[in-house]
Subunit: 463 residues, 2 copies
């Protein structure tokens, strides 16, 4: 007499949309802007395109409905994939080992879904891939039960000129008065670490915010890499073997993984006491468990490649901190690439001190992950755990609170260990926590040198 | 040249298992015990059965693998549904408006998946539904690509005696030395609010922990209810209309919703200027948006029914606090049912003071949601936000820190607003935050009365 049923992924994320950040109209307005802007930046700077992003948020008079449009000059979307990209939950071009803001295949669909259930209105998409001669238009809703797109309208026409990119419009119930400051902060913090982007926003109050491009060069984009043997489990091995044409275990290891050349494969197989010539497709579950365990434990694989990453770099961090905070001193540190569970990551920390920064009871913390500004859940983030004066001995660096100090942290990885699918805070994975602490100490040492020097100069003046 | 793909729900939760609490071997061992115990309790006390739960965790010698077995005397599982219950992600008997610990259709599948990918071993299930004459046995793995169960073995035999219930065994890589204290704390805190349950645990160190049944009566179980009109959106309306045989809008409102009788339906339709006789199956999206908005705004629906809830009650909370903390004073408050977005909820708060409680810098907070103990992410939980001395004026109640004080909070609802699918902290929904604060003040006032009285007695003694 118990009734059992299943849910499609779209039904699941509809039921529990608050877990993706769509908890109330104000927060949903914020999250919608985020999801569209993060997709726009992923379609540009990842490919070396200097982003031109425009964001328009208009209130529909007499209602609490908002039309949000984000347009970019990115790579566009092949029209064959547009319906699923906007109408199928868990559909993505970012399910791969390459740093990007998006990763879940969920973001824009949540915005489409929230619009659909609060206003009944579909998403409208214009897109033209680079090199395409046409512009494509779609009006899409989601069949929430089946997790399939419903194409209400589609059209295309030949393109005049060279425009390429994508323009997305969703209409949702929102609350601008409550969301305003966070949305503005999010866009500003996005612009700070993307000085190579031109960003324009028009908000429901009619205000225009303009962040001009101040750097003419996009940093080198990340490149997709193969998995690293330290990240395996039995399932990943099965997936890799299934799609591999290799006839021997040795060939398979060399072809499927990064950091495994012929010599390394031979040494590993010798040490693990495995036959190099066995056909990987014939391995039993027991042998796979053994192989996975040995791969994870082997110490002599080359570290995971940082080719898949695209850090900000000290120049961008220092320039960004200078422009928003107008400090008297700024320093930034970019650590060498490290890895956790086979995923490469780079930690970067910037410190800004004095100048126009007011004296605060705790450091002003500006968190970033894969270039995304994180504005919520600060106290449960690993960056706060490291920077917190209860855990970091700031006095040793001549900083005692209240003090005029801000810290910027950036974690980039092929897999940022977010605590939730709303991408608001990062879990305290030990390797990452350690790197943050090392980076913070490095930057704090330079701050201390500056403060010592400043003290000396002031004492010299006094005499 | 961009490649797009979709993921099944099992692939998605495999890729991002840390978001469900399966982030490392220690945490995964904790989460596995949780998921199995919460299923066992949901199969018993929800149905008025006095729970007998046994938990065995054994380490497989020479490995870091742990075999975890949880057995209960619950309602069992119909064998037709066992494969999907254990082998299909997003499959559940708890997708309904009735308070239960489970709700996502994910928990046991995550444990099965984690075992499968770390040890290669399947889950083993014995079950016998109440009234069934047979015991059923299954050995199951998950086809992660297709999100379907793989039945490796199945058997059944006729039952001797009256046993009913379920026994689940998973084998995972774990880390008992790191997980030990949390697992013990979780079981202890579970037993504290379930004095009607007999719980036995044998751990890998060979220790036996036994919580006897000290209350002979199970609290009244929750009952499934229909949705409340304040919880609607366009999608919910569409789902309800689709499965409704009602021929008029008025009939539909009465039949589909709780709290809507004939008179209420007539008044609502009059006020919303809608035709009571229109066939709901013919409503356009625009009309549905209007209807949803009007239903949410209408002020005169009866409040959501608390039949769907099963609070702990002050006796259980006080007894539980007395037994673990041995305080000199204890008080508990159970608030009246309230609602947020159509979901009924009840907030309960208990305070324990003095006695064997040590003086602490901040209140010891014991959080519960739908009778589940929450042990992680305290600082991002709404309960901490309310109880935090920075937000609550404890001095007004004659408590100044350090002080020997513990606070138990319990939120029960047809939809607890968890912040993540790992069920570790609750979001600060305004209605719930408000009720927590009211309950805390109510309990703190009784504490203050006790402290005043105690002060008077001490001063009387001194003279
Ligand atoms: N502005 C855009 N330009 C190009 N492609 C886009 C754009 N917006 C969305 N897409 C495509 O649609 C896909 C789905 O987007 P969606 O936001 O749902 O998921 P995601 O970005 O891959 O992951 P996440 O859920 O983390 O945001 C993307 O992977 C991308 O291929
Ligand atoms: N010990 C048990 N006794 C009876 N039924 C069970 C038991 N364990 C699991 N089930 C059934 O299997 C289903 C799936 O369990 P699962 O833990 O995956 O999801 P859930 O409990 O519904 O939700 P959650 O993901 O929040 O735990 C349950 O809904 C229940 O019907
Ligand atoms: Mg996205
Ligand atoms: Mg469960």
């Amino acid at each position: 007499k118990e009734t059992y049923r299943s849910m499609s992924p779209s039904q699941f994320f509809y039921e529990y949309k608050e877990i993706a950040g769509f908890s109330n109209p104000a927060r949903s307005l914020y999250q919608t802007v985020r999801e569209l802007v993060e997709n726009a930046l992923d379609a540009t700077d990842v490919y070396g395109i200097k982003p031109d992003i425009s964001i328009v948020i208009e209130r529909i008079p007499g209602t609490n409905q908002y039309r949000i449009t984000v347009e970019d000059n990115g790579i566009g979307i092949n029209p064959d994939y547009v319906p699923n990209a906007f109408g199928q939950v868990l559909f993505s071009s970012k399910y791969k080992l390459r740093q990007s803001r998006g990763r879940f295949g969920l973001g824009v669909k949540m915005a489409v879904l929230y619009g659909q259930i609060t206003t009944g209105k579909p998403v409208e998409v214009y897109t033209s891939p680079i090199g395409s001669k046409r512009v494509y238009y779609f009006k899409i809703k989601i069949d929430i039960e089946k997790n399939k797109p419903i194409i209400l309208e589609k059209a295309s026409w030949s393109k005049r000129g060279n425009w390429h990119g994508t323009r997305v419009t969703v209409t949702i119930v929102g609350d601008w008065s409550r969301a305003r400051s966070r949305v503005h902060e999010y866009i500003r913090r996005t612009a700070i670490v993307a000085p190579y982007a031109r960003i324009t926003m028009i908000d429901p109050d009619g205000n225009i915010v303009y962040y001009p491009r101040i750097v003419d060069k996009v940093p080198r984009g990340p490149r997709e890499v193969k998995p690293h043997p330290h990240g395996v489990d039995i399932e990943l091995l099965k997936q890799l073997i299934k799609s591999s044409k290799a006839r021997t275990l040795k060939e398979f290891l060399i072809e499927a993984f990064q950091s495994v050349g012929r010599k390394t494969a031979e040494n590993f197989l010798k040490e693990a006491q495995l036959d190099p010539n066995i056909d990987p497709h014939t391995l039993t579950d027991e042998q796979l468990e053994y192989l996975a365990r040995k791969l994870r434990e082997y110490k002599r694989f080359r570290a995971p490649s940082a080719d898949a990453l695209s850090p900000l770099g000290p120049e961008i961090i220092e320039a960004g901190l200078k422009s928003i905070l107008k400090p008297e001193f700024v320093v930034a540190v970019t650590r060498k690439p490290k890895a956790y569970e086979g995923h490469p990551f780079i930690v970067e920390v910037g410190i800004a001190y004095g100048g126009e920064i007011p004296a605060l009871d705790e450091p002003l913390l500006l968190r970033y992950a894969n270039k995304i500004p994180l504005l919520y859940d600060e106290k449960s983030d690993v960056a706060w755990k490291v920077v917190n004066p209860q855990n970091f001995d700031w006095k040793q660096y001549l900083v005692s609170f209240p003090a005029p100090i801000a810290v910027l942290t950036h974690i980039c990885s092929t897999k940022v260990p977010y605590k939730g699918i709303g991408k608001e805070s990062v879990a305290d994975v030990p390797e990452i926590e350690h790197e943050l602490r090392m980076a913070l100490r490095e930057a704090a040492r330079k701050l201390r040198a500056y403060l010592l020097e400043k003290k000396r100069e002031e004492e010299a003046k006094r005499r």
